[in-house]
Structure formats: structure tokens, C-alpha cells
């Protein structure tokens, strides 16, 4: 691929999609981030409960597994 061919292609691409204008400062996203972190933390909390429920179910079905689990813990 010759440099001039790549340069021509680059020019064509930049004409169709010019570099984005970024003023460098946008709105403050911290409040949104805090909200996101709260929401995601809650979701993880429910996942913990689901995993605990699975573990409990496994122990009921396979009681001998409790001894093996305690051994490894």
C-alpha cells in the first residue's frame, strides 16, 4: 500500500467523517456515576443471595457435600 494512496484514502475518510469537535469540558457526570454505582451495587447484592440460595439447595440435595465443603474451607 503506497503512502500516497493511504493519504488519499485518509482524506476521503476525514471528509466523510471529520474529527470530532471536543471542547474538552462536558457536564459533570459525578452524580450520574454515583447513581450508577448504587444501582449496580444493589444488583450484585441480589446476585449474592441467588448464589447463596443455590448453595443451600445443593447442600439439601447432597448433604455429604457439606463435609467436603467444610474440609476445603
Amino acid at each position: 500500500m503506497k503512502n500516497e494512496e493511504q493519504a488519499r484514502l485518509k482524506k476521503l475518510l476525514q471528509q466523510a467523517l471529520p474529527p470530532v469537535e471536543d471542547s474538552g469540558r462536558g457536564r459533570d457526570l459525578w452524580p450520574d456515576l454515583l447513581r450508577t454505582m448504587d444501582q449496580r451495587s444493589t444488583r450484585i447484592f441480589w446476585l449474592d443471595w441467588a448464589l447463596a440460595a443455590l448453595l443451600a439447595g445443593w447442600m439439601v440435595l447432597y448433604p455429604e457435600g457439606i463435609l467436603r465443603l467444610l474440609f476445603h474451607l
Binding site: L12, L17, V20
Partner: protein, 172 residues
Amino acid sequence: MDLLERFARGDLDAFEAVFRQFQDDVRGWILRIVRNKSDAEDLTLEAFWRIYKARARFDPARPFGAWARRIATNVALHHLKTQKVAAELLDNTSIPNSEDPALRTEIAIGIQRAISELPPRLKIVAILALIEERPYSEIAESLGISEGGVKTRVFRAVRRLRKRLVELGIEP
């Protein structure tokens, strides 16, 4: 204990200070890749959420900006993989030089289609290297690959773009 050490230990105030220092840089970087301001803001939140979750793995002796940019690039790359249409690229549409307005529009749409059809790993280097003209060293660091790897991907992207544009009747 300095700010980055406190952040790595989970200090939320330290995380806020780091966030305020780097949010514009991360958002600007993501914007360059996804080319949509609304998406860039959403993805910036996602990036910092991942940064916060990974705080224990961050080495305070290393530059935070480069690490954050790496995570942000992965977030943007994931977004590109889930993008369905090139419609998002139309936000920044400019028409290539041509006398016929209809032809100019057709050329622009063709070019945007060709870019959108690139595999995400090639699309991201095409955008950063060819359109945004970022240094290869910066692209390499953000993708976690060598500069040679960036050059290879640019070469492959250019080859695919040229072939696709010819198929679409656009002479590159």
C-alpha cells in the same frame, strides 16, 4: 498516603477527585471512537464503574491516565461490537467534495458503511489512526498492543476499506 493510593484502597473521596481530574479526558477519548456525545457520556460512566471495581488491581506507582484510557478503550470496543447500524456515525456527517449534492451524500453514506462493516478491532484503529490521526504509540497503549500491531491493523483496515469502497463504486 497520596491520592492514587487512597483510591486504590477504596477511598470514595479520592475516587471522586480522580474522576473529576480525568473524566473529560476519558470522555473525549471515547467520543473520538464512538463519535456520538450521548453514547460517549454513557460509556464514560461504564468505564469509571469498571475503573472503580478494578481499583485494587491498580498500581499507584503507574500513571492513572494510561490505565483509565485502556479500560475506556475496552468499553468503547465493546460498544462498537454491539453497534448494529452506521446510523450513529451520521451525527458527524460531512459531505465529501463533489459538485452533485446527491452524489456527495451517496459517497458519504458509502464511506460510512464501509467503516461500519469493518471488524471492531480494525474499526477502532481506522477511526483513531486515519480519522482522528492519533499517534500510533497512543493507540498501541490504549489497546494493549505493540506499535507494530497497530500498523498491521491499520494496513488491514485500509486494504479492506479500499476493497469495499471499490465494490460500492467509490474510487478511493
